[in-house]
Symmetry: C2
Amino acid sequence: MEYLKISQILKDQPVGKEITVKGWLRSVRKNKSFSFLVLNDGTCQGTLQVIVDADAVENYEEVSSLLIGSCVRIDGLIVESGGKGQSVEMQGKAVEIYGKTDESYPLQKKGTSLEFLREKAHLRPRTNLFGAVFRVRHQLAMATHKFFDQQGFYYLNSPILTAVDAEGAGEMFQVSTMDLANIPKHKDGSVDYSTDYFGKETSLCVTGQLEGECFAMGMGSVYTFGPTFRAENSNTPRHLSEFWMIEPEVAFMDLEGNAKLAQDYIQFLIKHTMENTSEELEAIDKFLGFQAKQNKEKYESHLPILEKVRDTKFEVISYTDAIDILNKSGKKFEFKPEWGVELQTEHERFLSEEHFKGPVTVTDYPKDCKAFYMKQNEDGRTVRAMDVLVPGVGEIIGGSQREEDLGKLKQRISEMGMHEDPLWWYLELRKFGTAPHSGFGLGFERAIRYVTGMSNIRDVIPFPRTPKNCDF
Amino acid sequence: MEYLKISQILKDQPVGKEITVKGWLRSVRKNKSFSFLVLNDGTCQGTLQVIVDADAVENYEEVSSLLIGSCVRIDGLIVESGGKGQSVEMQGKAVEIYGKTDESYPLQKKGTSLEFLREKAHLRPRTNLFGAVFRVRHQLAMATHKFFDQQGFYYLNSPILTAVDAEGAGEMFQVSTMDLANIPKHKDGSVDYSTDYFGKETSLCVTGQLEGECFAMGMGSVYTFGPTFRAENSNTPRHLSEFWMIEPEVAFMDLEGNAKLAQDYIQFLIKHTMENTSEELEAIDKFLGFQAKQNKEKYESHLPILEKVRDTKFEVISYTDAIDILNKSGKKFEFKPEWGVELQTEHERFLSEEHFKGPVTVTDYPKDCKAFYMKQNEDGRTVRAMDVLVPGVGEIIGGSQREEDLGKLKQRISEMGMHEDPLWWYLELRKFGTAPHSGFGLGFERAIRYVTGMSNIRDVIPFPRTPKNCDF
């Protein structure tokens, strides 16, 4: 008998065909002479209802007593369904029980808050909500590869282990194979790394950008898509210690091209996801509405905003103009907007949500707000940075044109009190055949959070890592 | 003027059109009244020859004196080429110099051994050989996503930071934010992890399989594609400390299905790469032949073997039969084949290269050779493991059906002297709705090495990490 996945069955509706289906029970309704089993196999949002007659299967007593979450194989006949909201159902002929559950199974119909499910991250992909979230995540990843591949970008696996603090931020995880109970030390008490695996201090990467630049300066257009790490002590719904990042880097591209690429990419992500996971987005939206209602909160679906971002040309303004707009707005902010200081989320959200009522890219930030590698403008005060702001979250992408002039780059490194030595190879990109180039970074989980509307970033990554939390 | 990439120019051959091209000089040949500049921009293996007349451009003296590796923008007219092996060339009208090089530029025509280029990993993507290798790498990654996505698999980002030693091998990198010069300790001298970032001992993952199983047991079919780490002290051409791995995991799939999936995947990888990077594979083959000749070694192209693996049904035999074949072969091995001992590379290569003369999948290994999670056979001696062996390298894929029975799994964990506690969540997959399931792992760099024919694994990853080596 042919084994069909539930997504296929719902799509092809093979009425009159005897087939096999395999999956987990979402519900069991037992009557005297027949039972309804509702089955999901993870291949789609939908479920298949199976009617099992008491005299149709040998093990009816056992089958009809199965609990939610049990795993079964069912052979049966696909028939048209009389039930509301379902096109076909199955008449069960034989049921094999792969695995039962018991009363301790945590995913009961009630009492499964998002917080609770985070502690059951090994089981939550079996729920309706998380199945939807992770299918959207999958499609966002596929859209990313498709977008860049189609435009001739090469996928670059930048290194995870690194001896360079590329952002100069210092919040890095150390990596070592030394016996931590017996760290070898120099006479002055400092750590002697000579016996460590790499023979020197090593950390987990915070970005793949610098290595991306190496490859762009030879292969033209590249993008990374890999894990990055921050050892910040931030316990917020917006921060993860381990997250995935996408970083394109393009030779011969200036800031205008960079802004255009960022717009195209975000719009492609939304378009692809809406086309391929509309049922999932609706299921999540429904859940969020339900959750808000339970908490007696107002709920406004984010899906219309997503559509607007997908279809609207992104405004582009300078940071200086943005400060002007903020100061003339008459709006009272917690932090007063001030030239020379990085924009706060409240400013970013005001610009995109209230002033422009749509996505906006802010360019040319004060140089002291930004990293050493950004291209310096002739005004001596600003750099060719850009942040893309979208309604609902504020900044979603940060990027820049890179400083391609060796002398200016060295001067900036010195001004910022950084050391040239570990960056010798990065500087050589400017010494040998330098070229204008630009790139940006998108936090993958921030994008998933944005597209799904999920409020906590821990609910859009399979196994979240946060301070004091490295379970599973 | 329209800016075209060299891949587009060679494909579309826009003869008679004035366009802009940007790239790095592969060679410069200066004559009295004109010069030949050969340009590559990383978009393909090919180059564009540009003829610059002395009186056609203002800065002729400077342009004709440029060194290899310099970066330029050239406006010019595309014309048919009289030169051998090239369809079109360009008559240069204006040249902008983005970045010069000097005599210290390491990528001169001569003296660039692979060893030397490893120390210039930031520049080697600019070479003909490494451009080819990394374009093949890109296509293998795209093929991987395409293969699994088309079959309804979901891409899973399994966690990198972990508190579990999933293979029980112990060769893991530790991760910490504690001050290594002042490690807090308990009274007995052991490390006090309570103040560490995660509050416990944490490492870098060696596999994503266990988390893959969590997702397969709800979403059906998943695959990981991410970095994994081994802190082994292996300085060989086959080992990296940081490498990328692909691990599919499928609910309701038995070992036969697993072997079929592995064959389909490998054949798809080869097919896709041969279709999309034939020029690159030929360029690498040519280089390897040239290198062998220089070293006075015999060279046999691996491309015919690749084609055979692409087109041949993989044989499937049991480990017990394999031992039999080896012992009856009359061949003298360094290590005598013996039931109960893992096959050596010489055995694996004999089986695929000499005996079967093609790919072969060996199944049902002695349980003591394999990991705790493999499904136990009824004979009490073997497990449902499989290794896929291909001519040229031996093992390329390892996998198994997983033990789905909670009792048997617990017993095996205990037999092997492992602890159940950190695996509580993994065990719960068997407690709640367990199902037959299988999966395998493919080391991405081993696959690239196999497809390209490159002999050292450090030459197929952008920035290799090996003992005492974490540069860039």
